[in-house]
């Protein structure tokens, strides 16, 4: 039985060594290149004495970044991707959480890394990828590895202002890749364009199926997603047949009327997720690509990427919500009501995930882990961990799971998962701020920040830029004389939202 994610690569490199695996703006790596580089990097860290510990990968988006991930796994370690667009203070929080002893950089990011307050020894990709592979040592590491060993940690927004690192192991990634590949029918002819950042679990959808099947993934510059016509032309130029993108990347193309000028010629598989696909935009896509298969995917980082799917097989009216559908094989969704019992048919309940796809938990964070990686309340006989997503769902009349709302202040904004509490914690930490509250305008996709304090809105925005990633910055920032409070003295978010809606009319 396969128990190591890189066994995919071991098999594929024998079959199609010279095929392009990952192609980007700066370079393209064949399967043989990827294999060679990851073995070199694995050997390098082995010789450094690193084993079963986190190694930071801080590189610009490139095929080499992926080979660096694999190299870390080869060394028997786990990769922690961080990105040049993350503000330095956030990166410091991540480094403090992981306490890494090594960081892989490219020429550019090595300069940025010098400015971090938490200093980690930096190794440049282009140097360490030239290490002669020690076949014997690599084989030994491979033989000793167990499929419950972690392979990566990715960081997600945390409501207290500190990001949480989700650690996932070989087995949950293997399970995910097998089920996803079967569901979306990937094969050796699959050509992907990666849209999501490499520092999230979302890129698993392209990275691992590529080495499993000997497929090809194009890693495109982010700027391409600003220019809809160029983007579609790019898809056609590279005969791209499969995209797994966030909804906002797809609607950017349809909403601006790009299809009037150019249409995707080869695209057959369109998977989307992370947020609601407005039916008006979805209808445009379906009209342009009537033969294509559209699949809605749902799942949290804590469930190793995606855990539910729905193949769109009927028409939806404006205002309808495309269902989350059903879990992948080998995963069960438990809908638990407030008494921790199964929600009655059609009643809402918290979506909880049971199965191999549940990740290991939050790295170096037992308190947060305990809150949502919990014993299955339906089973008191033996230890069994389920993950409580905090999402409320219910079954519709077709028996399909539908997302209803959140239990807390987590939002999905342009495909990113954000805790409004994390933004508020960062605003509250600014000097001169007395209180802060965020609300989300889902219709216009705007994060609205209200605050009381001596700073101007511009000053607040400028200071937040140093602390929060771009996608978490409020789109509207407004100073208030005083914060509306509930009788209990809590911030009255309902009131804030009401005033906001009345004002924007």
């Amino acid at each position: 039985m396969q128990n190591h994610v890189l066994d995919y690569l071991e098999e594929t490199v024998k079959r199609v060594p010279d095929k392009i695996a990952f192609a980007g703006e700066d370079c393209a790596l064949t399967f043989a290149d990827t294999y060679r580089d990851c073995r070199a990097i694995g050997t390098f860290f082995h010789e450094k004495g690193l084993y079963k510990e986190p190694i930071i990968v801080f590189m610009r988006k490139s095929p080499k970044t992926i080979a660096a991930f694999f190299g870390v796994i080869k060394a028997g370690c786990f990769y922690v991707p961080i990105d040049e667009e993350m503000p330095a203070t956030r990166i410091d929080l991540i480094l403090e959480n992981c306490k890494p002893r090594a960081m892989i950089c490219d020429e550019e990011t090595a300069k940025q890394a010098a400015a971090f307050s938490y200093q980690v020894p930096v190794y440049k990709y282009d140097t360490i990828s030239k290490t002669p592979a020690d076949a014997e040592a690599l084989q030994e590491i491979h033989d000793l590895s167990i499929d419950t060993d972690p392979i990566y940690i990715v960081f997600t927004s945390g409501s207290t202002g500190v990001p949480k690192g989700v650690a996932a192991c070989h087995r949950s990634v293997l399970d995910y890749i097998e089920q996803l590949s079967e569901t979306l029918e990937f094969n050796e002819q699959t050509v992907f364009v990666n849209q999501t950042p490499l520092y999230f679990d979302a890129c698993l959808k392209e990275v691992y199926p590529t080495i499993k099947f000997g497929a090809t993934t194009y890693i495109v510059p982010k700027s391409l997603f600003m220019f809809p016509i160029k983007l579609v032309e790019y898809l056609n130029e590279h005969k791209v047949n499969t995209v797994c993108w966030v909804v906002s990347a797809l609607t950017m193309i349809s909403a601006f009327g790009a299809f009037d000028k150019v249409q995707p010629l080869y695209l057959r598989t369109i998977a989307f997720g992370s947020e609601v696909f407005p039916i008006k935009q979805f209808a445009i896509w379906r009209k342009v690509l009537p033969e294509a298969k559209f699949t809605n995917l749902y799942g949290p980082t804590e469930g190793t990427g995606m855990c539910c799917y729905y193949h769109v097989n009927r028409d939806f009216a404006l205002g309808d919500v495309i269902p989350v559908g059903r879990p992948f094989k080998n995963t069960e969704i438990l809908l638990l009501d407030e008494k921790d019992e199964r929600a009655k048919n059609g009643e809402p309940g918290e979506i909880c995930i049971r199965g191999t796809s549940v990740t290991l938990g939050y790295y170096n964070n037992p308190e947060k882990t305990k809150e949502c990686f919990v014993q299955n309340p339906l089973n008191t006989a033996y230890p069994e961990i389920i993950y409580r997503t905090g999402d409320i769902g219910k079954y519709n009349s077709y028996g399909e799971l539908v997302f209803v709302s959140r239990k807390d202040y987590q939002i999905k904004h342009m495909g990113h998962r954000i805790e409004l509490g994390e933004i508020e914690a960062n605003v509250n930490a600014l000097e001169g701020i007395n209180s802060a509250a965020c609300i989300y305008d889902g219709e216009k996709s705007k994060i609205v920040l209200y605050y009381v304090g001596g700073l101007t809105a511009k000053e607040v925005t400028l200071q937040l830029k140093e602390k929060l990633p771009r996608y978490m910055l409020p789109n509207v920032t407004e100073a208030l004389e005083q914060m509306p409070l509930t009788p209990n003295g809590k911030i009255d978010r309902v009131n804030l939202k009401k005033n906001y809606q009345e004002k924007s009319k």
Binding site: S223, F225, M226, F227, P228, M252, F256, D260, R470
Partner: protein, 76 residues
């Protein structure tokens, strides 16, 4: 032009939009900004920016963006 500068300043208070002509090349604007900008411009100027107008050239500076708006206004 002032209205446009105001929209841009709201997105990035720290950028000198009167001078900068590498908004796209230097990755100052990202896809969030483009989407926001287009909807704000469509609202405030009563024009429709279509897909073929969304090019790096048109969005590289406030000046070129304003020129695009004027062109679109003339067409109406």
């Amino acid at each position: 032009m002032d209205t446009l500068l105001e929209i841009l300043k709201d997105l990035h208070p720290d950028v000198d939009f009167e001078l900068c002509d590498t908004l796209v090349d230097d990755k100052i604007l990202d896809s969030f900004d483009i989407v926001t900008l287009i909807s704000e411009i469509n609202d405030q100027f009563d024009v429709t920016i279509s897909a073929e107008d969304i090019t790096p050239e048109n969005f590289n500076s406030a000046e070129s963006l304003f020129a695009l708006i004027e062109r679109l206004e003339d067409e109406d």
